[in-house]
Symmetry: C2
């Protein structure tokens, strides 16, 4: 299949179909978005300026039913961190884009004057600009419903909520899942604000009338089966994820003493069981929700779920570990229904649940509300939708809230809130937070998966460095990092997949070299943008985290050569 | 006189009297605060942490009546920029500290638990900790009145307002002037929040019972007279400043097309005459205020004033150029009474008037209120006192407001709002804003004073670089930069002053070398703090400023060697 890159200029409402440069051939996902952003975005530009570019790229094998391979990446200069950003998600969009033969979409420019509520529709007949004023200002669930009514319920879509429209730095881009729920989020770093700044409310992707663009020869069919089998055979990707979802991590992290609780003051939550995987599974199962669900077509891992209300009606899909911890333990909430409602609200207004949880933690520390005061919390979260001053502060992220409320204990790196692993107990994660060009983003090197003593400062640097590179390999192929347990233990399978799809074998070592280059190029973007503080906040270096009573004590000197 | 350094630990409520290290002998003001902050503050610490240190240092000749030499500097890691910060002001405190033989005060630690409203009293009998709970939460004018009632109206004092107590990043430290009005502000960079984080509401300085510590020999007396005469003989320092105050600059900057108007969208203000020097002088004179006033003991320049209400009662002293422009033209206000009232409110709540004006401009651009809507503006400013969400956003500065409200045109460098000179028309000022370790702070190199074509990008770098060094020389001596017209044209007089006071002659070239070292050391602090973006915001490089229709076009490449 001949792939193409779409270049869309929102200012002039033009679109151009570009050939894929040879050097981009084996780049997908983050590997491609970061390469394009680095090459084409001025690191000194304002993130909301027309010079910023929103780059959307599915994985290399998107459009096929290869398991876990229909990830969608988006990249830009981040309104939250001021550095380079990539976020990726499941959902239906990458699959549809793959079937349309679209390697990447580069969105430049900016709508004129008022927010235009424009839409971009991509189909086999090309790109069209749509007037979406009928969903202007609308929350994402309502907007999604209306979009599917108008464009057909087989369409994939990306949509932003009110938070993206008012350009809040934590706004996400919601991607519709296979049922059209806008719950798969390109969550971190405010990419929804970049989309909002360009005046785009939604992108609709319609692949009707097309057959799969992938040659469905035996080699491809075989490798798809082989990969699915390998994933199914592994106890985690084959069973645990489908049974418990990502929340299976919660009690583990809690037992390691690294579960962020009450703004990272404790590493264990006394009510961890109540929000743990068994409780979640039981609740969903008893109420008739879905405990296992594929977040993207073809995925056999099925870590996703559909959480429902007591009466069985849908509330939010999917309730995941990061959200359960950060909108739960971290703000003193131990009721899954409350957490799920906050999650739904964040989805609806279109903000990153993780950054929201971290920011609420900072606000609780400032005394704006008491930990666990759900009613007050919900009131503030609702302000995200209406743009109240307190809602806007919340929507600007933890670093801003720390400044606004004079709080010293602010768990951010490069102005991005930390994920649900306290780096004083999961020390490798501290390296990821501090050294990743993405800020405190666990997905750049999810050190909890490493078979190391997480408390030992000596044991982390080498494996985490390797993990950063291997994660970038997966992110460049656009294959879910949850496959790591299989793909990184058996790298042949990665080479086999590439060979089957592209008639060309690339060794894993070559992929790692490409990945290293991409990491360096992300880092260089940040350097030119003026983002240089590769370190954790001071309090984590000094304040002991119970119950291990450890501080973060990775030798910063040794990290200086992390990128060499 | 044997000078001493006071080291005060707020945590333990202890104070130590230290000898002055030989290497600090000829450092005062910013030269000393920046040296101490660089040497003793961890650049990675949180600005509100106990590890941050508030360093207060009078000028080298403080305590004498040498004209323009009783400046007071304060330094710390800035809650606003995250980098090193120094702010200086007039007022009575430096004079009293000089008479007490105090070279510097280093305040470490942090009060325990709740904000303590502690006070530090410094007198000839040493340091005592005072319970100031009777002025807790109080605005500065009321607090100042109570302080003078309790400690005697000859005392000098530093006090913070509610903004400093709640640690807003734009909080200033108010220094009482010779009449006890808390209107001389250590304004920029949030040093009031550092003081607030330490639990200190006020510092009282009482030099009663002491004679001048300076040997009043003929040599000293002569040089004091000689310097006063030289200042009086210059048309600007001898006459214009006293007649018109700093506002004399306003119509000049306006005629150069560089007067920030309506969030830096225009370089001229149609109502400039209304807020210009003649209008101000007339108003003050007709109402019986003071058109000329010394901001510190001994100063013959008398650029300060006391603005009064229509009925002649005091409103604010002193109404100065930066404030008149940024709380006037920049937010579309052309009524001096309104500007003076906003100035008074900023003083009273204890925030930097400049940052407040720049932030309000960003808010107006965001549509929070219409330019010139005094009533709405006043309502938001009042939120600084009560800590409303919108007031807190305002008090967090322009960079934060830009994030919170999704504004792209945010005139800041290193997260600090620009002074009242648009760098597209006063291009040398753009070099100061971008290259100074202080952020967009005109006082680090006030390029408007240079005899160059301000629009010519080629004409700026060399003279501005020299100006940065010479400004640091004056800041290290603690002599007001307004003396520059005399001291920098006739450097002998600077050498004479040092020789008379210290029985030791230092050449101006030697002073420049020390200054260069200090600048490098400030810059190195920032590098270690992770503050590295030496550049103006994107819009100033691209958006033409009427009426000159020029952009900021200084060659960034050439600036790379600015510090070599």
């Amino acid at each position: 299949m001949k792939m193409k890159i779409l270049e869309i200029d929102v200012k002039d409402k033009t679109s151009t179909q570009l050939d894929v440069p040879e050097k981009y051939k084996y780049l997908g996902g983050r590997g491609l978005t970061s390469t394009v952003v680095s090459a084409e975005v001025d690191p000194a530009c304002h993130p909301l300026n027309e010079k910023n570019m929103l780059v959307i790229a599915p994985g290399l094998f998107a459009g096929s039913v290869l398991s876990s391979a229909n990830r969608l990446s988006a990249g830009a200069k981040s309104p939250l961190t001021g550095g380079i950003k990539e976020a990726n998600s499941g959902g239906l969009a990458a699959y549809r884009l793959g079937r349309l033969g679209i390697k990447a979409i580069k969105i430049k420019g900016k709508g004129k004057g008022e927010f235009e509520s424009a839409g971009i529709k991509i189909s086999s007949s090309g790109v069209s600009f749509e007037d979406l004023s009928f969903i202007k200002g609308m929350t994402t669930y309502e907007a999604a419903k209306r979009l599917l009514e108008r464009y057909g319920n087989k369409c994939a879509f990306l949509v932003i909520g009110p938070a993206g429209e008012i350009r809040l730095p934590t706004a996400c881009i919601n991607v519709g899942d296979t049922e059209g729920e806008p719950c798969r989020n390109l969550g971190r770093g405010g990419l929804g604000a970049v989309m909002g700044s360009k005046g785009i409310k939604a992108i609709i992707i319609d692949d009707q009338g097309l057959k799969s663009p992938w040659k469905e020869n035996d080699k491809v069919k075989q490798v798809i089966k082989k990969f699915a089998r390998a994933l199914k055979e592994h106890p985690v990707t084959g069973e645990k994820f489908a049974k418990y979802g990502t929340v299976m991590t919660l009690l583990n992290v809690n037992s390691l003493g690294g579960l962020p609780t009450r703004n990272f003051t404790q590493g264990t939550f006394e009510d961890a069981e109540k929000i743990g995987a068994e409780s979640l599974r039981e609740k969903i199962a008893n109420r008739g929700g879905m405990t296992a669900h594929s977040c993207m077509p073809g995925c056999v891992i099925q870590c996703s779920n559909k959480y429902v209300k007591k009466n069985g009606s849908p509330l939010v899909g999917s309730l995941d570990f990061e959200t359960v911890c950060l909108l739960g333990a971290n703000i003193g909430i131990s009721d899954l229904d409350q957490i799920a409602t906050l999650n739904r609200l964040c989805n609806d207004y279109g903000v990153d649940t993780m950054e929201t949880g971290v920011t609420l933690g900072v606000m609780a520390e400032a005394g704006i509300f008491e930990y666990g005061n759900y009613k007050k919390i919900k009131g503030i979260v609702d302000g995200l939708g209406t743009g109240t001053p307190i809602g806007r502060i919340l929507g600007s992220g933890a670093a801003v809230a720390g400044k606004v409320f004079g709080v010293e204990r602010v768990p951010v790196v490069k102005d991005q809130g930390m994920a649900a692993y306290d780096p004083r107990a999961i020390k490798g994660m501290g390296i990821t937070y501090s050294m990743s060009p993405m800020g405190a983003d666990h997905t750049a090197g999810n050190a909890i998966t490493l078979a190391v003593d997480h408390l030992d400062p000596e044991a982390q640097i080498k494996p985490v460095r390797e993990l950063h590179i291997n994660t970038m390999v997966l992110d460049t192929l656009g294959i879910c990092i949850f496959t790591g347990r299989v793909t990184l233990g058996n790298t042949d399978i990665v080479e086999d997949i590439i060979e089957a799809f592209f008639d060309h074998r690339i060794t894993f070592e070559e992929l790692q070299k490409i990945a290293e280059e991409n990491l360096k190029c992300e880092r260089e973007f940040n350097r030119r943008a003026g983002i240089s503080a590769d370190r954790l906040p001071q309090f984590m270096l000094e304040e002991q985290l119970p119950p291990n009573n450890t501080v973060y004590d990775i030798d910063m000197k040794e990290l200086e050569s992390f990128y060499d």
